[in-house]
Structures are given as C-alpha cells and as structure tokens.
C-alpha cells in the first residue's frame, strides 16, 4: 500500500528568510487586532455583561420574529435582541441587564415569559446578575494570566529563559490575533471563549515546544552551525509532524463545526482560527526565528560570518 505523504522527506525550505516579511506582517496584524479590540470592541455575552439569554422553539411552524419583537419591545425592558438560531423555529432572545440589581433580572424573565405566551418550548434560559458577571470577567482574565505565567515558569525550568520568552511572545501574538478575529466576527465573547483562548494557548504552545525541543537538541549536536541554518533544519525536521498533526486537529474540529450544533459553534470557529490558521503559522514563522533576536546562540554567527567572508 502506498502511504499518504503530505510533506516530502528532507525538505529544505529557508523559513528563516521569511522573518523579514513575517515579523512586519505579524506586527501589523497585531496592531490591527488591538485596534479592533479598542475601536470595534468585543461582543460580550451575558456571562460578562450580565442580562438574560433565552433560547426558544416555536411549536407551530417558523417563528414570527417581527411579532415577537413588537410584543417584547413593548415590555420596556430596554434593549431586546432577537436572532434566528439554527432552524427557522429557533429564536435566541437577549435582554440587556436591567437596572435595579439581581431581583430585577428575574422580574424581566417573568415578563418575557408572559409576553411570549404558552405555545413555545423554552430550550435554554440563562440569567446572569450584575455581580456574577463582573466576577466571571475578572476570573477569566486572571485565569488567562495565570495560565500564561504558569507555562512561562515551566518553560523557563525546562529550557533557557530566551525560549520561555520567545514562546510567550509567540503565544500572546496568537491570543491577540484571535481576540481580533472575535471582534471582527462579532462572536459572542463569553466563558466558552475564555476556554477557547486557553485551549488555543495550550495547542499553540504544544506546537512551539515540539519545535523548541528540536532546536535544543540541534544546538547540542551542531556546535558550529549558524543560528539561521540550525533553526531551518529544526523547523524542516518537524514540518511533517506539524502538518500531519494540524490536519488531524482540523478534521476533528471540522466535525465539531459541522455537526456539533449551535451551542459550541462559536467555540469551534474560534479554535479553528486560533489553532489551525494562526497556531501553525506562529510556531514556524514567529516562535522559531524570534530566538535569533532573543540572542540564542549569539556566539555562533561570528565564525560562520568570517567563513562566508572568505572568497
């Protein structure tokens, strides 16, 4: 049986040469993502903003959004958003957080229930009060920070500090771009998004560590090679594994995206972007070459340059 070979053996791509292009591109993309975050903002879900989210299914035929909108906006509950969610008889209703504390949120739910009548199945009702939403947001941010810190410390123990710093820069870059993606696509930013970000962080690091492991091995084996050559060999050696792994992860994510339903749709979409698109690019074009700038093996370039100076 002939086996599938996505990446041919012994590739010799000069990935390091691309750093003069990839670094400016990444810098620009990061700035774009950050400005998206600041000027376009994230579409905070009720976990972090507080308020009410109700998913309903009309029992008789497709939902009449216009009538529902009219009867709900007559309740005086401030901003009420209606959105079709999957099938034509599935509707997602978002009610903004009510002024007047936690009890007021419950009152709003009862009003909505009253206005929608009885010919409806309540598939999901989520009410998050003002205090809980504030706590969830701060826990989420603290969690991300803790994860980055914990991983940094681990890498610092296992490798040298330049590797830990390089991995962190690469992975913060991934997170920043993913947040930009979430801002651009207006995906609901909720607790699941934090889970997605942390998983992207984990995967992206997984990839980075595999390449760094190889770089460390090469550094011990080839004492006289220039840093750029050494990084190229390392990335090429792990290239086949990187691609195959990403294909399998993509296949798994694709199944979740297509058949996993609406509830985890934004989660898988975010993962798809963060792990597949950004993660692969980062570990090859950012995480590896950044080691040159961080001064790993600075002593090496001296003899090799003098070698190349020779006629």
């Amino acid at each position: 049986m002939r086996l599938l070979r996505i990446v041919p053996d012994d590739t010799k791509f000069d990935f390091m040469r691309f750093r003069r292009i990839s670094f400016p591109i990444s810098a620009m993309m990061s700035i774009l993502a950050i400005s998206l975050y600041f000027f376009h903002g994230l579409n905070f879900g009720i976990d972090f903003k507080g308020g009410t989210l109700i998913e309903i299914q009309t029992k008789a035929g497709p939902a009449d959004l216009a009538t529902m909108r009219a009867s709900l906006s007559a309740l005086g509950l401030g901003e009420v958003q209606l959105q079709q969610f999957g099938a034509p008889n599935d509707v997602l209703i978002r009610v903004a957080e009510q002024p007047g504390g936690d009890a007021a949120q419950q009152l709003a739910v009862n009003k909505v229930r009253g206005a929608l009548g009885s010919d409806i199945e309540y598939r999901r009702v989520e009410v998050v009060g003002p205090r809980v939403s504030g706590e969830l947001l701060s826990y989420g941010i603290i969690g991300l920070m803790l994860a980055i810190l914990g991983i940094l410390i681990y890498l610092w123990f296992r490798f040298e500090w330049q590797f830990a710093l390089g991995a962190m820069i690469a992975n913060v870059h991934d997170l920043v771009l993913t947040i930009g993606f979430m801002s651009l696509t207006r995906i609901d930013f909720d607790l699941t998004s934090i889970a997605a970000l942390l998983t992207i962080l984990g995967y992206s690091l997984n990839d980075t560590v595999v390449i760094y492991d190889r770089i460390r091995e090469m550094l011990r084996r080839y004492k006289r090679m220039t840093m750029a050559d050494l990084l190229n060999i390392s990335v090429n050696a792990t290239l086949s594994r990187s691609i195959i792994t990403h294909v399998t992860v993509t296949l798994a994510l694709l199944a979740l995206l297509l058949f996993g339903g609406q509830a985890i749709h934004s989660f898988t979409a975010t993962m798809m972007f963060g792990v597949v698109l950004v993660g692969t690019y980062t570990s090859i074009f950012i995480a590896a070459p950044i080691l040159i700038y961080l001064g790993v093996g600075t002593g090496r370039d001296q003899p090799s340059r003098s070698e190349s100076d020779r006629p």
Binding site: R131, Y154, T248
Partner: protein, 533 residues
Amino acid sequence: MLYFTRWKVVAILCTVFAVCLFAFPNFLPTKMVDSWPKWAQRHVVLGLDLQGGSHILLEVDTKAVRKEMLETLRDDVRRVLREARIGYTGLVVRGNSVEVRIREGQNSGQAQEKLQTLSQPLGGILSATGHRNVDITSEPNNLYRLTLTDPAILERVRQAVDQSIQIIERRVNELGTVEPLIQREGSDRILVQVPGLQDPTRLKQLLGKTAKLDFHMVDSSIPAQQALQGHVPAEDEILYSASGPKTPYLVEKRVLVSGADLTDAQPGFDPRTSEPVVNFRFNTSGARKFAKVTQENVGKPFAIVLDNQVISAPVIREPILGGSGQISGSFTVQSANDLAILLRAGALPAPLTIIEERTVGPGLGADSIAQGKISSYVGAAMVVLFMFATYGLFGLFANIAVAINVAMIFGVLSMLNATLTLPGIAGIVLTVGIAVDSNVLIYERIREEVRAGRTPINAIDAGFSRALATILDSNITTFIAAAVLFYIGTGPVRGFAVTLGIGIITTVFTAFTLTRLIVAYWVRWRRPQRVPI
C-alpha cells in the same frame, strides 16, 4: 525502549483493562447497575446542559443580616440599661453601629460595665480567635458607640448559609426531583442544581421565599386607613395584604406565636367552602401560647403574616385549644401546597437572592447529546482514516491506542463520577487530536532516524526515546492550561477542563506504555527488515 520486563507488561495491561472496565457500567441499563455493590456503581454524570435542568446560584442578603444584627444589638442595649436602671437618651442605629447617650449624673462606670457584657468573644471558648462580636468605644458627652465587627457579620452570614442549605434541601426534596445538588459556594452563596426540570419557575418561587410566618394581633383601636394618614402607634406597624387589592392592616409588632413553633403543615380543603387551605399544628409550647392568646382575645381579629404580608386576618370566634388551625386566603391548590411545603421546611434565616440562573430544557439537552455523538463519530472516523492512509499498519496501531485512550478517559471520568458536558465532549474530541499527535511525533521521529541510516529496530528504539521527551514537554504545557481552566471555570467550562486534563494524562500514559508495547511485540514477532512508514 523496546524491551519490557514480564511484570511490566502485566502491570500495563492490567491498568489499561481495569481503567477501561470502569467505563463499562455506562453502557448497561441503570437497573442492572443498581443491583451492584456501591463501589462499582460509578458512571459518568451527564451535565445539566445535556440532560436538562436548572442551575441556580443564590446569595444570602448580607445587608439584611447586618440590619437584623444591629436591631438585635439595639434591643439588647435597651434591655441591659433598663435592667440596671440607667437612664439614657438617643438610642439609635447609625451606619454599622448602635449609639446610646447615658443621661447626665448617671453612673457612667456602671453603664460601661453593663454595655461591656454585650461584647462577647467570637466562636465560643474552644475556637477563640481573639475577635469579639462588638467593639465598644466611648466618646465625650457620655456617648457610647457599639460597632459590629466584620468577623461577627461574616460568622453570622456563614451560619445563615449553613441553615439555609438545610432548609433548601427540605424544600427541594418536596419537589420530588432526582439527585438535586445543593452546596455552599464561597462564603455567602448557595448553588442549587436540579436536573430534569421542565420549568424552574416553581423551584425559584420555593427558593426565593423566606417563609417567615408570624401571628400578630390586629390593632382595631383606630382604622388602618386613619393610621396610614396620621400617626402609627409606636407598638404597631402597617402591613399590606398578600393578594387581591392592596389592603393595609394595622398590626401589633409583638409576635404572638411564630412559625418556628409549627410542627406540621398540610394542604387541604375547607369543608364548608371547599376552598384550598393550609392546615397546621403547633408544638406544645406553641399550642399553649396560641390557646392563651385566643382565650384572651375572643371576638378580636388577628393577622397571619408571611414575609411581612398579611395572608389573612380572621376574627377569633372561640379559643383554639387543640394547637391546630387553618390558614385560608384565596389559595389555589398549587399555592396552598407550596405554602405547606415552605412551612414544613421552616423559614430561611435571611432572604436569598437569585444572582445567576441557567436552565436547559430537556429538548435542547437531547439535541446536544445527539450532536455530540454525531460530531464525535464523524471526527473519530475521519482521524482514523487519515492515520491509516498516512501510516498504514502503524496508523492502525495508533488508532488502537487512541481508541483505548478514549475508553480510558471514560473509565477515569466514571471512576471520579465526573460530569460530562457538551464542552466536555468537545474536550474529548480535541484529546483525540492530541493523542494522535503523540503517535505522529513518534512515527515521524522513527522515519527521521531511518533516513539518518539506522537499522529498523534501532530507529524505532531511538524514535521512541527521543519523541517521548517531547511528548512529555508539550503535554505538560497543555495540562497547565487545562488545570487553570478547571480552577477558574464553572459549570460547562470546568467540564471541558476535566476531560481535557484527563485526556492529556491518559494520552501520555498510552504513548509511554501501550503504543510502545504494541510496536515492541510487532518488532519481536516480525523482525522487520524495513520500517513500514
């Protein structure tokens, strides 16, 4: 790397088999498993998002607790000073303290001594913390300020949570639901999870009521309307009716008998009007008090007050000596039943507020399970095919390892009686990705070693030993992320972290033992001349 001692092989296979065995009960009918011994009755619990149900987070109203403590403190100050016959003026609650001014010419030393008796060490003698419940400061002009300390308030809130949990348990159990979960969250919160509930409205009504029932005399010396416009007597207060048009009642503040004296409450019907009512019975001391009051007040109205609202205000026709009575007040069958439940369970020590609610209907839960299944099957099938296409026989080995890996995840989840949520299923699907990656790392490394000119067995050996170090490093970093997720996450997110974390552990385990074992046996059996990848 390819040599295993006999006992190691046995240990590996036994571990794998035992862990997988724990996953087995999940696929058997519940009835069969129920007859097993307790330790074997372990299974994966479906999360609320999969089986439907309500997750409700309640918070004790700390402000109300503090207000009550301050009022009690004020009453205590009054009692202590009166008992010692010390004159005072201006006894008020201000902010977090009670202030009192001792009259000129009184023995201020004695006053201070008496007030000092109100300041008790917290936590009794055994667990003395050095904190006191009240700090007393004296200021010029004989002004004394008694301030509640924060530890005292915290302690009371903690007690209120403990009592509330017991009362909520009694209330929720009356709903007849399966396996409700009621537990403390932090210092002032209670988490209630009730699976399989179609409509949480009734649950929320049962949770949200303090259910403080008191019997008061109605003051009929002046009509309530008049008192409302003019002056409410100091010993009275205005309360409104609970249902129907909002009717004011002028009610004495003094409690005749309280709901704490009830021993039983049952819904029933009034034999004359056939309206739903609640029949109740007092304990001995309550019955005695109630008999005395009704004997003394025949012909006068009294008020049955629930959570500061008057349910009804009947006139006492004859002394009630038997210690049982009836509450009527435009109930429906449901509301009479609910009130009986609340009265039997007892009153909450402080009001509870719902600060978070997440309810999933059974329809959505079933859909989510179906979607979870389809996506796992499709994802697994695609990955299995791809691995076989890429690595052939070794791909088959990898697929066997990954399948056993997933079985082990279910085994560990069952062992822990862990909760499986929809994000948890996503975690398993992603674990399949990670598990495959460990095999990819090993095989790619073997191929490299072959290209570097090693003999097949040498290459396989070197491939394993080099790749395993990398697998360990890369998985530990992902595990750190999962651990943080578990620590900070709630509900569904925590479910994701659990499966991801367990998946990483089983992945590393299978990569280090099972995959190696399979390949080792294959090498010993075939003595390959070339590596088939």
